[in-house]
Subunit: 333 residues, 2 copies
């Protein structure tokens, strides 16, 4: 059995219903290996499948422009829930729910939660269907359980890489968070957004652990990064070219604020923010990234120059204090 539900029947029905002749398949990195197989599923309907082989880290990065350029009738976007308010090209989201069980790993996490009475739950869309069951396990263990529903995500308890409102909305009540899911990326986001102890239950690796040391390390790095950026003379403000990451007005605003504090600032438009692409500009001392805020946070050590999020830049220009930033979140706005 596959680790994820690719909803093959629904996909075929949607293609037939729309009468789509040409379909673009978009997958996040972890699901890309399934691309050729999923193309075959599309071909069974008589439509032509084209697999997008460029990077895709979220529903913010919907391949609308590519779809238009290839005269595609339908995008099938796997692995993320709908995020953009509307799509210029018809789009089907296949959330790729995980088929792996979570019971054992949640039980493994219980000892790590023993000091905490009220536990907040958070997870990615892959595991939202398990939260009721996870709650039951915790209730049986004598815990109080809270699941946030701030109305911005698609499901209660769901978090995405740059949006943790569900977790934040219950951070005051919760003594700690239990995050269900793989990798460290989303769990770190929960810890950094809520400043609460965060335990990870990873059903793929079948391990439970605390992410707090890592979150603390990142916080120290961010502080150092802001301090280093204070010495910078020339800034580049990055404007994202991915569909849901373009914030030109915010970029113009922070450019103005930097100039008011005596810094030079220039706008850069960029789709893929990599250490290599930023290395091409030796006269730039520091970057403000208005695109995906997670890039700088998670890969800070790979970048040779400070790369700040928009919120961190507000600390730099003395509009927000470091304490308030830590309280309200490094990357959400």
């Amino acid at each position: 059995m596959k680790q994820y539900d690719f909803e093959e029947e629904r996909v075929k029905q949607e293609i037939i219903k729309l009468g789509a002749k040409r379909v673009l398949i978009q997958l996040p990195e972890g699901l890309k290996p399934e691309g050729p197989y999923l193309a075959k599923v599309v071909h069974k309907t008589g439509a032509l499948a084209i697999v997008s082989a460029d990077s895709c880290y979220g529903a913010c990065d919907l391949a609308t422009t590519d779809a238009e350029s290839l005269n595609v009738d339908l995008i099938i976007h796997y692995g993320h829930s709908k995020m953009l308010k509307y799509e210029r090209v018809p789009t089907v989201y296949v959330e790729a729910r995980a088929t792996v069980g979570v019971e054992k790993v949640v039980e493994k996490a219980l000892p790590l939660l023993k000091e905490f009475q009220t536990v907040g739950l958070a997870t990615t869309v892959q595991h939202v269907q398990t939260l009721d069951f996870v709650r039951e396990i915790l209730l049986r263990a004598g815990k109080t359980v809270v699941i946030g529903d701030a109305g911005r995500a698609n499901y209660p308890g769901q978090v995405i890489g740059c949006e943790f409102s569900n977790a934040k909305s219950i951070a005051n009540e919760a003594d700690a968070f239990l995050f269900i899911g793989g990798g460290r990326f989303h769990a770190l986001g929960v810890a950094l957004s809520t400043s609460k102890p965060t335990i990870v239950a990873d059903p793929y690796e079948k391990t439970a652990y605390s992410i707090d040391d890592e979150a603390w390390k990142i916080l120290k790095q961010r502080w150092a990064c802001i301090e280093e950026a204070k010495n910078a003379k020339t800034f580049a403000v990055l404007v994202g070219l991915k569909l849901g990451q373009k914030r030109l007005e915010k970029a113009l605003s922070i450019k103005r604020k930097l100039e008011e504090t005596g810094k030079a600032a220039v706008l850069f438009a960029i789709k893929e923010i990599t250490p290599e692409s930023l290395m091409e500009f030796p006269t730039v001392d520091a970057y403000i990234n208005t695109a995906c805020p997670r890039i700088a946070l998670d890969d800070a050590s790979k970048f040779q120059k400070p790369v700040l999020t928009l919120n961190e830049a507000l600390v730099l220009v003395n509009e927000v204090s470091w304490e308030k930033l830590c309280r309200e979140g490094l990357f959400e706005n």
Copy 2:
């Protein structure tokens, strides 16, 4: 003095003439360090400059879609001559002619040309203005000189990374080629397209050398690559998403031909073809690249699976012989 002529006055006049309020600056990798400086030049006109920080390897990669997405009135594209027949967004090309002298390095190249009577000249747009002068030096040395003008490039003798018709048009007459310019990329293209001895005169490094051993090595690699691809069961045919690199019809045609020879084939759409992005697909055994043909040729050793050009794929499906391919060029069509 700068190594290249950025035509600052003309750029400012063009911005003013067009009344452009927002300008996108696009630079190839070698010129990217000048981005912040060139933004300042634009700012002097009162327009807002945005520097494109994504990769750009040719005029085929004009940032029209990005310009539209950013509501830009004018693209200033540096380092390449016009290639596309028309632009959806007004575009000024600044060819960035080199200011470095070529006399000494051409004289250094003369001993390497001593066996050859008739010498063909080839260069990039950065040095086309030097060709008459180079011809004089060679004439004085007793050579016969030919400069091709096949009518496809913007200047006689000019070559670009994927288009060597000027060199090919005189390959029968020439005993050898003298290439004026930096790097090995274009010189290799001359050697591979013409199968003639090719001497490089590099005015930046101030060295002259033969590129023939390297061209021969690449030819052997390509032969091995095609042979390896013959064993592949599943192919992905890459469709480029860069403006001048999209050849969907050719991709569909080679997909059909592969299927007729019993291979499985799936279409991939891709903007940045990197070894990392292709590594995401373990079930694909080999790739046919219909986008920039130079990627596979120059970086073959970095790719873990065979990546063939469209012309090489025609050898694979027995439509063209290896000998004909070598005669007519590995990558041009």
